[in-house]
Amino acid sequence: MSTATHTRQAPEDDLALVPAKPRIGDKVFTGLSTGAGIAIFVILAAVALFLIAQAFPALTSTPEMLQSRGYGPFWSWVAPFAFGTVYSAFWALVFAVPVAIGIALFISHYAPRRLASGLGYVIDLLAAVPSVVYGLWGANTFAAALQPLHAWLATYLGWFPLFTPPASGTGRSMLTTSLVLAVMILPIITSLCREVFLQTPKLHEEAALALGATRWEMICMAVFPFARAGIVSAVMLGLGRALGETMAVAMVLSGAGVIKFDIIGQQNPNTIAATIALNFPDASGLRINQLIAGGLILFVITLAVNMLARWIVRRRAAFSGAN
């Protein structure tokens, strides 16, 4: 702000070095935004500190100690859940991203304007549904409805490692859970993508069309390159929600402490967040520390995934159509 004020002042003499008269609004605004910026660091540091402090007893206990008073040796205990967290989020993204980008494109480039605004509103409503409602729906209705599909996959595609029989008898599998998760992260990815697609410079689009591109080619040439960084950010936000989702997974997934790639079976790798939610009420002593140490691992996973995403975005930025 202040540099802009400097340059606007008469450039012919050295008056530019005299600072602009400070205004109260500037001071308040600077203070507020700096404060907010610092607050996020403080909050994040406080969370990390709490996790580390509470996890410390579990991380420093011997495996024998954890075997008798906790849930078992830490790393072999947490590994299946860390795997389950990433695995369920991965499948949720596989299901959600193509659909979300499709909806966003439809809203931004295909639908008539009236329909588009109405549809955008409906998608945003999906984000307002509490996760416990998704959990109830997933566990009681959706799982039972998908059970025949599980049986079918096991019978006819059982040779494929993802569909190893026997199939779940109630449908509360990794497949169902990640589909529920996909519905939950759909609105986040869709809304962000829609906004980014709408930001595509009209000139780029018109230039592509003028060169004889069809609408689809125009989207590939002008919209996607411009929006790539935005799409990645949107997907990362969705991934963050999928990684941390607790209630819906706890209610829908038939989870256990196992590492399995099969997505239609009875025993599925549970997620860290769901494991904490399921075991915390009855935990005491060292078990609480061990669960919080699990939370620390989840925190690290989320942080790593986000940093990876930032890195991808920055690396790609140079080649995007945005500049």
């Binding site: 779940s168 509360r172 078990r287």
Partner: protein, 364 residues
């Protein structure tokens, strides 16, 4: 607002208490009259712990507060572990727990709310039968024994027309469908008691120790909470699970073979489990931490036994009086039967009630 909120349940409970006192006039004193004797009581009690006895606690609290208007009791059903922690740290004056305190958790001076030289007391006040629930086409009266049950839940028996099941159910029309066994995904006292039964009664099949968390070595479907298991068994087909008997709804409940007899999850048969139990050794005479014998004759062996955790000797004598009076009511015949109407627990036998009364009277 407070009184308005409580008015309806209070009225209900008051009505049921009056009804009970009417039909059991020759038995133990009804709470209305015992309340008269203790009406000088006032103060606040806070308890925390097992969600399994949440409904029972609500019933007891409502009845007790009606009889003793000066007393306010709160029980938050946050889970057994949370209850034991809070009791040890002194945040609450009593706790509900799905298991007794272990030897290493006991000890004078470990409980902030107790006097420095006082140990805790484990009082088994809530017995709740656990039913093996099932939904199988064409089967209405399923009979199982320990080995067969263990094999079903361990994934060793996978179809309903397995010879082992057929042998126990002669003449039943068992389908050839695959068995879907559902267990709890959360850490729970129900699972701990169920696996304790399997470990004691079928050790050749169930080679794991009893635990609140289902062992990963055994397959099957997991569902969250009693409601989750009942829902999964209900919405699936050819399913079997285990849940609190009072929550089983319209689902079939298997009969369990003990010796040469079959027992369903009835209150009387389940209460015998406590009578047949032996005390954990090395505890004081007033501590009723129990070692349940799941293989004893003449009982339904799968039941959850929840304890009230109190102090032998409270640091504050007014708290001691409140606890004595309230827990005394819980363990009385009136209290047990009042809870049964709402929570479906198995009332303790008269013999056990007398033993607990002696313990509770010793609280200082």
């Amino acid at each position: 607002m407070f009184s308005k909120k409580l008015a309806a349940p209070l009225a209900l409970v008051a009505a049921s208490v009056i009804a009970f006192s009417g039909c059991a006039a020759n038995e133990a004193a009804a709470p209305a009259t015992s309340g008269g004797a203790a009406s000088g009581l006032n103060g606040r009690l806070t308890g925390k712990g097992a969600s399994s006895m949440s409904v029972a606690q609500t019933t007891w609290i409502a009845a007790f507060q009606t009889a003793n208007p000066g007393v306010t009791i709160n029980y938050s059903p946050d889970g057994s572990g949370a209850g034991r922690e809070a009791f040890a740290s002194g945040a609450v004056q009593y706790a509900g727990s799905d298991r007794a305190l272990k030897d290493e958790e006991m000890g004078a001076g470990k409980f902030a709310v107790c006097a420095p030289d006082s140990n805790a007391l484990n009082l088994p006040v809530y017995v709740s039968p656990i039913a093996i629930i099932y939904k199988v086409d064409g089967v209405t009266d399923l009979k199982l024994d320990a080995d067969t049950t263990a094999k079903i839940f361990a994934g060793k028996i996978t179809t309903w027309n397995d010879p082992a099941i057929a042998a126990l159910n002669p003449g039943a029309n068992l389908p050839s469908a695959t068995i879907t066994a559902v267990h709890r995904s959360d850490d729970s006292g129900t699972t701990e008691n169920f696996t304790d039964y399997l470990a004691q009664a079928a050790p050749s099949v169930w080679n794991q120790k009893s635990a609140g968390i289902w062992p990963d070595a055994f397959p099957g479907e997991a569902a969250k909470g009693t409601a989750g298991v009942v829902g999964a068994v209900q919405s699936g087909n050819n399913t079997i699970g285990y849940a609190d008997e009072s929550q089983a709804g319209s689902l079939g409940k298997a009969q369990i073979k003990v010796g040469n007899e079959f027992f369903g999850p009835t209150a009387e048969a389940a209460a015998k489990l406590v009578d047949n139990a032996t005390k954990v050794s090395g505890r004081s005479a007033n501590d009723w931490a129990l070692k349940l014998d799941r293989t004893a004759q003449g009982q339904y062996p799968i039941a959850l036994v929840s304890y009230a955790l109190v102090c032998e000797h409270y640091a504050d004598s007014s708290v001691a009086n409140l606890v004595k009076s309230y827990v005394g009511y819980i363990a009385s015949d009136a209290g047990q039967k009042a809870a049964q109407a709402k929570a479906g627990n198995a009332p303790l036998s008269a013999d056990m009630q007398a033993k607990l009364k002696t313990s509770i009277d010793s609280i200082k």
